[in-house]
Amino acid sequence: MKRALFIPPEAGFLKTLARWFKEHHPVREWPEATFIFPTRRAGLYFQYYLAQELKAPFLPPRIYTLGDFINEWAARLDPRPLIPAAERAWWLYRLAQRPPLFGSLSESFDRFLPWGLKLSEVLEELEKEEVEPRDLPYPPEDLPPAAQELLAHLAQIGEDYRRLREEKDFTTPAERSRLLAKKLGEVLPPGKYYFCGFAALSQTEKKILGHLLEAGGEVFFEAPMEERPEFLEDILNFLHLRPEAFPSSKFRPPRITFRVAADVHQECENLARLLPRSVKAPDEVLILLPIASHLLPLLYSLPSEVPLNITLGYPLRRSLPAAFLLHLIDLYEKRLAQRYPATLYLAFLKHPYLRTRLPDSPKALRRIETRLREHGSPYLTLEEIEALTENPALKEMHEEFLRPFETLKTPRQFAQLLYQVLDQALEPFKENLKTAQDNQDLLARHFLWTLENEILPLFTTSPLADEPLKPETLFRLFRELLAGAKAPFEGEPLQGLQVMGLLETRLLCFRRVIVLDANEGALPSPEEINPLLPEGLRPALGLPPRSRQEVLERFHFFRLIRAAREVDIFYLSVTEPSPRKPPLVRSRYVERLLWEKEQRQRRLLGPEALNHLPLTLKPPRWETGLPKGKAEKEALEKLLQEREISASFLETYLDCAAKFYFRYLLGLRPPERISEYDPAELGELIHRVLELYFKPYQGRYYSPAEEDPEALLEIFRREFRRHPLYHRLGPERRLFISRTAEFRLRRYLARLKEFPPFQIVKIEEEVRYTHPQWGLRFYGRIDRIDRFDQKEVILDYKTGGRIRSLSLKRLKALLEEPLDAPPTLEGLRHLKERMPDLQLMLYLFLWQQAEEAVYIHLAAGKGSELFKPLLYQPPFSSVREGFSPAEIQKLRQETFPKLLESLLNHLLEAPAFFVPEPPPRCRYCDYRYACPLRRPC
């Protein structure tokens, strides 16, 4: 029975191994030995420790990673090349197209691709575990239908796939592993093989290890002898190995400090304070970065000139070159009949790769933006943009970046186009990228390398390269590949301070370890579940239970901690503002470390066990309003004297006095935005349509029961077709808006049929009134005035939004309340509550002969809510206990004028332009960028 030596993490695995190797083997024999490690870094550090032991030049043993070892020896036995996962998915797609399998799945490659990638993973795993694929005729019903379909035919797929690999002359990593598991013993020369520091192994890997042991090898694991994890126990049993503890002295547990931060920036800032001034050895300090995307905040927080080595995979899709290509694709894809969305187009021009291409940029950019805004159309053809902007550089850019997409047919053309686009876009930056003096350029090179070598070649040289595919399929394929790709930041592992992801730290040990983001969701990382292979299905397919990712991560994390002398663990403790996000909680690993500490100290730890980083935030002190000085007061008085006071003027003040200040006192126009659809425009159109429809009846009776709604709809259709909105809208939206408007107009006329004939008195009537005491001029434009049974009624069309109005009960209460409003924020709030339908109040004030005012709420959700009368009078209201004539008189003669007067007094006398509480929806305010009081709502 061979032995397996267990080196405890505290001893420092690689250092101990190097010392042991030096003690047991003369240096001249070193080149004859072969070491196999899980990572290249481990091999490098091993050589570093050998060099430290020897202090002289030497020939080290031959060092492999298991992957490199398998590739080299398998290539000797069977020189078929490997193909990448996306290409495997393509071949599986071709297999899936053969009848009678997978009718629905095999319709298009973009639909099949995500399943193809997962299926390829399943077949790889079966191969690695030396399990023949078998059909699952009755797959679990809770699996997605596509998964059920594939699993039901797995044996056939597996067999066809094996034959296809031979026929097409390619292989896969798992097939190589299986080949070597079978034949390595036949070709491997005897020698000193050391299999070092592995964790979980597949069946084929265990057999490869078996061959190495037979050829004279030894095996070393990094784990405490007394706490051997299950996956190592499994290897011992399979190979009949006898565990043996590596002789080592007792070690002190590391000193661990838990640091609680509010956000990643606070973590990074405090981390920077823990770093030594210089780093002399590569195993001195490690920053463990479980969330790769926090790399940039970290780099920006570290002191200048800190020598730093980064070893981790950074998500490619977050890089500038990838974002540029995705933006370009997005722009092309979101076209409507050759018309490009103007906002996306402008954002594309402003991309860092392009904005310097325009001569006289950024002035030129501003000019282009102004022209497009002035034009107003949210979608434009490239020809229209060229004509509008008169900038020849744009035409050139269109030729280079956009027009070539129009002739795209195959993956090869797509890749060539993207390469050409990158080549042209990067032209001004190439010199900097070559010298890479700047860190950003240094990192950008990794992204470009990954695009150039791992993504684009899949489109040019794989068997699908010349398959005619739709652009959408190509785009989806590109996005899918990009989503899974990571740019390998490979540094010089033996230099400076080390920044790594958890898996990159395997077998390494550091004097000080600083862990960032030790929160659930990051440590352990979210487990990826293959929907084709849930855990419960593994026995049915003959697969052993999976060594779960979490178990392995836990193993790697705790060995790293145990191997350190000093550990600083940062985690975030913060409540997410969004209720949809779960609160951030510290990692289960932190919990375990705290629990272990409690056990050692035989007491419950108090709050002193955690180091809460002091947070000195200065929360914004929300002012309640923009102060109103003498100048503002004078300007206000002048404004009231010079202009006519309208309902929207007063409503703006009630809504937000600060907004009133910007709009009316400063006279700032709301910014012009490019948008396909503006509801206000549709509102104007509907007003116009109703005006045209009722105009012939002005001064006459209108009998609703006798009218055909088609006449109104015909006017609407005609006016809509003439309106610029019609031409600007996309076909789907145009249809939707048209149908909605027709429905609402038809519903309105249908409701009118419940009314007796009435007289139409005025249409679009402008009314003015000068108040004799206040000396102020009021103005209103009334949509329509009807006469019902000798009573005039003011009608106001509302085409959108919610209508606020006072209930009958509340109106009655108003009759008894004091109506003065102090010139305070509270006073403004009172006024706002009492005048939700200020417009109708003002109209009754201006058109005294009317006895009722009604909103016609065309956009009301229910037909019963179509009419909203202010005074609850028939025929628009059927309430029985309405107002008495005396109450109505009091409302109109005293209450409404008093409220109006209070509002005007507030406007003049308030010491500030208040932002009401609760704040209005500042996010949508036209003046949000100008207003210092905007709230983050």
């Binding site: 080149p31 490098l44 030497f58 290539a75 020189p79 990448p84 000139e305 390398w449 070649p457 040289t461």
Partner: protein, 172 residues
Amino acid sequence: MKVRLFQQRRPLRLLGERDEERLEGEMAHLALYFLSSYTGKQEELEQAVHQALALYPEPLERREHHFRTLVETLSQALKEPRIRALFKPGLKDLREHPYVKLRSSNLEIHRPDRIIFFPEGPLVVEYKLARLQSSHVLQLREYLRDLSRIWKAPLRGVLVGLRPPAYREVKP
């Protein structure tokens, strides 16, 4: 961002840093790594080139072209008797085996293409795909200097050019 980053610089085609010749140079080195011995049979060469190319996963542009070019290049080079002598069956050697040295506490790892153990002493061999240059001589001399410290005796070196075939002995 003012930190001093240590990052590898992989050659980029977009910046004109990757060319066919560099790639074929890598492939030729790998093929010679796999060529255990050469008795003049074409199959021996073809097998070694196949094995070398098997380490380049798909997608590899012009795989077939690379195969033919490499077989042709190596077969021409191995017609030179002194080069062919380096592939006599039964020679003991180290291939692509690194040596390690510390320079001002930094680890340096170098990888001579081949060290052949002749009875008269080790011979360090460096393959070059293109025409031999003086920089190649300097590189090999450095290897010889370092390796002499390991063997505690002077070593011989030879530069082998593959395209066109060339053989140049280099003294320490």
